[in-house]
Assembly symmetry: C2
Homo-oligomer: 140 residues x 2
């Protein structure tokens, strides 16, 4: 992910305003490998700036996602997850017990051509590997 300073630049370039709330969201995402939900980002932000509302967090996350600075994942854990790592092409591993999401750096380059219908423009492909993480497995 870009640094908070770079994001500030990008926002300014788009005519978006720089507010302490937005910077707090940038900070909360920076080098955050946990694939947080909007709710977790909000908690992290509120810890240091108690008045920030969920609305502001959602809006900032959506702005970032539209600018392509983060990506939004739907992995079936109820809420959307946000991934600050958009530079490296990667996939995800999901623990169905605790909802943990982890990056997976595998190359998934199947010969798609064979089964993709004529005229379908492929934009991207996401692999989600599901299972149970060690600490959840240990609990049983």
């Amino acid at each position: 992910m870009r640094t908070p300073a770079e994001l500030t630049e990008r926002f300014r370039a788009q005519g978006l305003k720089i507010t302490p709330q937005r910077v707090a969201v940038f900070d909360a995402l920076h080098d955050n490998p946990t694939h947080p939900t909007a709710e977790s980002v909000h908690s992290a932000v509120v810890a240091r700036m108690p008045t920030v509302s969920l609305r502001t967090v959602y809006q900032t996350l959506n702005d970032l996602a539209e600018m392509g600075e983060i990506s939004r994942l739907e992995v079936g854990t109820g809420s959307a997850r946000f991934d600050p790592n958009v530079e490296e092409r990667h996939h995800h591993l999901v623990c169905e017990s605790c909802g943990m999401v982890r990056d997976l750096h595998v190359e998934v380059a199947p010969e798609l051509g064979d089964d993709v219908p004529e005229g379908f423009e492929v934009v991207g492909a996401e692999l989600v590997v599901r299972g149970r993480c060690r600490s959840c497995a240990d609990k049983d």
Copy 2:
């Protein structure tokens, strides 16, 4: 997918009752390649049995999913999609414009071992290929 008659058997074997509503859901799913939402299944069922409620459809779909007779997909199109094809291992192609979901018979067998953490039990892997289908592309 199993035939409605086979599903009837399976339901009976589980001590679940056979009702015309449930059979109507079985019929609506049988050999249905559209990956319908709960709502579409409901519409199809209502066409022939106008009093069936969404509740009943959801419950039957959930029962089927728990029994492993259908699978539930979350592909980011808003509502969950139900896939009656659980026999063939396959993946999915999603049109981000119209929400169409199509089966994709590609082998995605990356060497997961390399990047999966110690102790993580892999249950399954789903590939979602996103893009835009021909008829949506033609609209622009």
